[in-house]
Every structure is written in C-alpha cells, then in structure tokens.
C-alpha cells in the first residue's frame, strides 16, 4: 500500500465536521463483545453491587492459615458468582434463580441485567412480575378486551391484550415461590414452551434471559413450587450478604441520592443485535473431546445404582424411585462398592439431558467471557456446582457422610459438588486405559454400516465382545464402568441388528 494511501486511511475516521464546523463523533464500532461483557462485569462489581466474595477462581491457589479454617488466594482471575452467573445467563438467554434472604439484592441484580440489555429503569420497574398469592393467570399474561368478550361470537374474534413484559429480552419474576400453583402452571408454559396462549391466540415470548427470585433455598414460601417449574431453572445464584467494611459506599449512596441503576454507562449497554451476535459467538466456542468426556464421566455415573436391579439396563436410581424407594434402602453393606471412593452413593438422583445441555452452554459462555476459544476443565469445575445446586439431592444416609469432617458437605452444596467433581477428575485419569480401548470401537461404528459385509461385522462384534468380557470380569462394576458397558452393549446390538438384516436380505 502506498504511503499516501496509508495516510488517507488514517485520516478518515469517526470524527467528522458538521455543517456548522463543529466536531461530531459517530458511535464506535466497539471492542469485541467479550471485552464489553468483561467491562460490564467489572463496572457492576466496582460501582453497582458491592460483593467482595470472589468464589469463582481460576488457576492455582495459595493457602493461608492452617487447620480447618484456611483461606485460598487465587493466583489467576477470580470472579463473584453473584454477578458472573446472571451475566452468563443474559449472554446465553437461560434461566437463573436468585436466592437469598430479603434485601440481598436479588431483584437489583436482575434489573441490572435488564439495564445492560438496553431497557430503561422505568420500563423494568413496570415489567417486573411480583409474585403474590392473588396473582392470576390474567395478571401474568394479559386479558381479553371486555368489549370483545361481549361482542364476539367465536373465540377468534376476541383480541387478547397481552402484557408487555412477555416479549422483553430480559424477564424478571420476583418471589416466584409466592405465585399460586395455577398461575405457576401458566408461568411454566411460558418458560418451557416459550409462548403463551389464551382464547386460541398466541404470543411468542422470544429468546429471553429469565431471572426468578426466591427468598430461600427450599423454594417454599407461600406456595410449593411445582417440580416441573423448578426443573426449568438452569442455574442457581446465591445472593451474598453485605460486608460491613464497605459501609462507606452506602453512606455515599444515601448522600448522593442516586442509585447505581440510574448510572449505567452507555458503553456497557448491549443492543439486541449485539446480544444476538454474542449468543452466536458463544455457540461456536470449542468444546474439546477430553473436556466433554470428563463431564460425561462425572455426570454419567451419578444415576448408577448397582443394587437397583439384577437387569443390567435397570441399574439406576430411577428404578428405585419408581418403586417408591430411596437410595439409602439399598446403598448399604450389601453393595460391595467402596462408599468413600464411588460417587453414586452420595446422591439421591442423577441428572437429566437438560442439565448436560445447560452445562455445555454455560461452559461455552464462561470460556467466551474469559476470552478463550474453547472450554476448559476449570470452566466446568466452577460452573457445575451452580448448575447442579437444585438438581442434585444428596443421600444423607450414605456412609460417605458419616465422617464428621464431611458433615458440612450436606449443608454446603457448592463445596459438595465441587468436591465430587475433583474426585471424578482423578478417577477420570485412572480410567484412561479403558477409554482407550473403547474409543476406536465407537469411532468405527459411527462411520456407519453401509456396505459393510457380514464377515466384517462378525469380526467387529468379536472385538466388542472381547472388551465386554474383560470389563465385566476384570473390573469392578462402578458408575463409569457401567456407562462403558452400556455403550459397548449398544454397539454390539447395533451390529447384531445389522447382521440380522444383512443375512435376511
């Protein structure tokens, strides 16, 4: 490029002269969206929500103190889950439940996310849905125009005046555990199906980030929250208590008469296009095979219960629950597995496909936020406790919890789940030889069976059978081994079905 062209390019930019010879600056294209999300995070932490609790830590840690009460100082970036998780929820358009005692800032952080999404404070104040025992479906969704009701001869002639909040990109439901059961069902349809229906008319709720608040972990309150609604929550955010060493900030806030919600800088407000773009960019963040396998190794073994049935396919906790039994009924001395080593003993349940999907999505968002091109194990380690917080139920009767030093894990879900993950990660490494044997068998069948001759199929089945025999005879039937055996059996069955078909035709 010629020097004169280089200079001409330098001199053309977003500063321009107006007709009356003044300087005008057009809007900046902006730094990367990742950088903008990080800016938003730090602005909130430094100016809006006072939270000195940095519980999402990366890199190694330095330990201070000794005995039981140690402090871990992160040597890499550390974040507050209280701010980070709502931000990730905004980025992924998923559903977060904010829990904590009254006055902890649950609604404030949800409103803050709405402000980042470009809504005004006034719009958000009017749009927040406040749970209370008299909340009806009409209050939540809208109602038909009275004149239409009178005049109409068919349902299609009734126009429904839908509530404005239904189509907002950020939806806030305050104290969802005070909503009566019937109305919870309407909320569930909205949350799960993404639309609302009344008099044969529909409103599309669109892709939105949901923030629901509740006052305590149990989701109790005035009404029991229906399980299906609880199940739709993707992540739980614990809203932390105020640390009194930051009182000075509150004094300043009272004296100035201004709240942080009125001071959100424009350069951290995201347009709908930017949020869409971020959502797409998050989806293409890499999810390496070894990270995927480590996640599968951990989550896959939780549903396993060796004693649930003699039938191989039914050795899971669902079998027990369908019979009205709890894990404790069978997880005792009659099960040969070591309760201190195997994770299956610690939980009452496994996880659904929805949890896997949520974990993958949030992990990608966290990697994106950190500026990485792919997900790492540490992303999962930090996120899974929050994703599984309300999903995994501990088995308090497990011998694992008998030891005094483990009792606190029954009260602190985050530490409990993180500890399980760490145990699983160590087991994952030891499981490597088995994985190495199975991987080529799986890769081969995933190439498909078109054109594969019967002889070749029998040879492959023989290889699968060898591995099946080795695993079932030489290794202990634990959660991870069970998952492998299920996989091998399914591979074998596919070959068998194909062979039957080939021989018939």
């Amino acid at each position: 490029m010629k020097t004169t062209d280089v200079v001409k390019d330098l001199l053309s930019g977003r500063a321009q002269t107006t007709a009356d010879l003044k300087v005008h600056l057009t809007a900046r294209d902006g730094a990367s969206l990742q950088d903008k999300f990080r800016q938003a995070y730090w602005w909130i932490v430094n100016n809006a929500v006072i939270t000195p609790y940095y519980d999402v830590e990366f890199g190694t840690t330095k330990r201070v103190g000794d005995g039981k009460d140690q402090i871990e100082l992160p040597q890499d970036y550390a974040y507050s889950s209280y701010i980070l998780l709502p931000l990730l929820t905004l980025m992924t358009r998923k559903r977060a439940l904010l829990i904590g005692a009254p006055g902890r800032g649950k609604t404030s952080i949800a409103v803050m996310m709405g402000l980042l999404a470009g809504y005004t404070h006034e719009e958000l104040k009017r749009a927040v849905q406040h749970g209370h025992p008299q909340l009806t479906v009409s209050d939540l969704l809208g109602s038909p125009l009275p004149s239409d009701l009178v005049k109409a001869e068919t349902p299609e002639q009734i126009k429904v005046s839908w509530r404005k909040w239904l189509t907002m990109r950020v939806k806030v439901v305050d104290e969802y555990n005070r909503i009566p059961t019937k109305t919870q069902s309407a909320l569930l349809s909205l949350l799960s199906e993404g639309y609302a229906e009344m008099f044969d008319q529909f409103v599309d709720a669109g892709n939105a980030a949901w923030f629901l608040t509740a006052n305590d972990d149990q989701g109790g309150g005035t009404f029991q929250v229906i399980d299906a609604l609880k199940d739709r929550i993707d992540v739980v955010v614990r809203c932390t208590n105020f640390n009194s060493r930051w009182l000075e900030t509150l004094v300043t806030r009272v004296e100035s008469g201004k709240s942080p919600e009125s001071l959100v800088p424009r350069d951290i407000v995201f347009s709908p296009e930017e949020l869409d773009r971020a959502a797409n960019e998050i989806r293409v963040i890499g999810f390496p095979n070894d990270v995927r396998d480590a996640m599968g190794f951990f989550l896959g073994q939780l549903d396993f219960c060796r004693m649930a049935s003699e039938r191989f396919e039914y050795k899971n906790k669902d079998t027990l629950h369908l019979a009205g039994k709890k894990v404790a009924a069978v997880c005792n001395e009659s099960c040969p597995l070591d309760k201190n080593a195997h994770l299956c003993t610690q939980t009452e349940n496994g996880v659904s496909v929805r949890v896997f999907l949520t974990a993958i999505h949030y992990a990608k968002a966290l990697a994106y936020f950190r500026g990485n091109s792919q997900v790492g194990l540490d992303d999962l380690r930090q996120l899974l406790p929050w994703i599984l917080h309300e999903k995994l139920v501990p088995n308090p009767q497990s011998a694992f919890f008998d030891r005094e030093e483990r009792q606190h894990l029954l009260m602190d879900r985050v530490s409990w789940i993180r500890r399980m993950w760490d145990t699983s990660t160590a087991q994952f490494a030891a499981h490597e030889p088995i994985r190495k044997r199975i991987l080529p068998l799986r890769t081969q069948i995933e190439l498909g069976l078109e054109g594969v001759k019967a002889g070749e199929v029998r040879s492959r089945m023989s290889l699968v059978l060898d591995v099946l025999n080795d695993l079932s005879k030489k290794t202990e039937l634990s959660g991870p081994v069970y998952e492998d055996l299920v996989q091998l059996k399914s591979i074998y069955s596919r070959y068998q079905n194909y062979l039957n078909w080939v021989e018939k035709t």
């Binding site: 004169t4 280089v6 330098l10 930019g13 977003r14 002269t17 010879l21 003044k22 800088p265 350069d267």
Partner: protein
C-alpha cells in the same frame, strides 16, 4: 454581556461534558479528566482565548478529550502523565501536546478539521502495529504546522519504513550516541532487532519486559532519534532481511573499529547499532557509502 453570556454557556457545556463522562463510559476516570482539563485543556485555552470561535474550539477539544479518557486512550493519575514525553501513544501526544501547542495558529474555521485529523489518525493508530504508533508519536514533536499534518505524516511514515539504498559499508564512519536513559532511566541496552529497516527495537539487558526503540536516520537528515520506551516491536513483516549476516557483521565491526561491543546490529543500509558493556547509550555507526 455577550462575553458573560458566552462564558456562562461555556461553563454549562463543560459541566454537561463532565456529567456525561460516567454516564457514557464504564471506565471513566474523574481524576484523568480533571488532569486533562487543568493541563492540556487550559494550555489550549490560553492559546486560543479571545479569537473568534474559541469557545467552540475548546468544546470540540473537550468532546474528543472526554472520549479519549472514557475509552482509556488517555490515562493519567498525575500531571506528569500528560506532559509530552517519550513512550506515549500518538493520541496522547496529539491531544496533550500538539493540539495545545499548535491549534492557536490554525485559522478558526479550520480548527475543527485539524482536531478531527489528529483524532482520526490517533484512534486508527491504536489498532495499527505498536511500532507505527510509537514512532509517529515520537516524531510529532517535529510538527510545527497543523495545516501540513497530512504531508508531515506521509514524509515521516516514509522515513520509518523506507528501505533506503543498500550500503557497501565503506568508510568513513560517523558515530552518534542515542541516550536511552531519556526514555528509561534504568535502561541498559542489550539484544536488538529491526522492527522495520529503519527502526531498531532494543531490549534491556537485565529486565525482560523493557524495550527502547531508535530510528536510524542519516546524520544529514537529523541523525538517529530515540523513540522512547515501547513494548517489543515485532518485525514489521516483509521478506527482506535487513540485518547483515554474522560474518558480514564481524567485518563491519572490524572496519568501523567498534571495540568490545556487547551487542551489534548492522543493517544493509549502512547503519550499525552498538551497545557497550557499561553504557546506557546506543551508539549508531553510519557508513558513508
């Protein structure tokens, strides 16, 4: 009355600009803004006060300065951070030195255009290779007429990237010392490499993360110039290797009677940058032919 009204308007605009800072920018620094207003902005005002359109020119300048502070193009925690010096970015030099120094000599109707040119060049340079930004920032001291800003950039960029004629490394040789202590008081010249055929990046012998850049320029064109502290300037690219081979370098060292150097970087255009054991200076040897 008209003067008083204009002053009131100016004060109100200043207040609005200031209040807008935290509303627009998440990285707003009140302190940096105050330092800009009390330092370069005041100097600018002293230069243009009383001339037609002075208030508007100041407002234009403050609009750009606010954007620079909000986006952290310009950062400062003490007044010294905004005084002209080596190692600053182009935009910092443009707003904190060039504009206050030269805008007063620009015809009032052309001042907006002059500020715009400085801003656009500075903001674009933030996204260009660091060596170009720092090189042009260091050369901005030589700019004496904002009306010739475009021509100045063309000339100076050319000097920075020009390969120049190849040298046969014949004598006589002249030597000019460039004092790196001006850029970094603790700097001790060590390993050197070429960022462009005319720009040397010299690494500190003792500290991994310290570098100083030097422009290799003929004596009759002004001589070599210290460009200040920089991050490591990666090579500007291009396939031409302007360093001499080790053998050739040894011959040059011999011919130019360079005794006991710690590091030598000799280029094909007839310059050798030399570092000595106990000297903070980079000695630039120039071959006549």
């Amino acid at each position: 009355m008209a003067v008083a009204a204009r002053q009131e308007h100016a004060i109100e605009r200043l207040r609005q600009l200031q209040e807008g800072g935290p509303r627009l920018y998440s990285r707003w620094s009140d302190r940096a803004w105050r330092l800009v207003c009390e330092g370069p902005a005041m100097r600018l005002w002293d230069a243009i006060a009383g001339t037609p359109g002075a208030e508007q020119s100041l407002e234009d300048y403050l609009l750009l300065a606010r954007e620079a502070v909000g986006l952290q193009y310009v950062t400062a925690s003490e007044p010294a951070d905004l005084t002209p010096g080596l190692g600053r970015s182009f935009l910092t030099e443009a707003l904190c030195d060039v504009a206050p120094r030269l805008l007063g000599s620009v015809q009032p109707p052309l001042r907006a255009g002059a500020l715009i040119a400085l801003w656009n060049a500075g903001e674009k340079l933030n996204a260009k290779p660091v060596w170009l930004n720092r090189y042009l920032a260091a050369r901005l001291r030589e700019l004496v007429d904002l009306g010739a800003f475009e021509a100045f950039l063309v000339r100076v960029i050319g000097e920075g990237v020009d390969e120049g004629p190849l040298s046969s490394w014949e004598g006589p040789y002249t030597e000019i010392a460039v004092d790196t202590a001006l850029a970094d008081p603790w700097f001790l010249p060590g390993i050197m490499h070429l960022a462009t055929p005319a720009i040397v990046c010299c690494h500190d012998r003792r500290r991994d993360d310290r570098q100083v850049a030097v422009l290799l320029r003929r004596r009759d064109a002004g001589g070599p110039l210290c460009l200040g502290a920089t991050p490591c300037l990666d090579q500007a690219g291009g396939g031409i290797e302007h360093k001499l081979s080790m053998t050739q370098q040894a011959a040059v060292v011999n011919a130019a009677a360079i005794s006991d150097p710690v590091e030598v970087l000799a280029s094909r255009t007839g310059f050798a940058a030399v570092a000595y054991q106990l000297s903070q200076r980079i000695h630039v040897v120039e071959a006549a032919g």
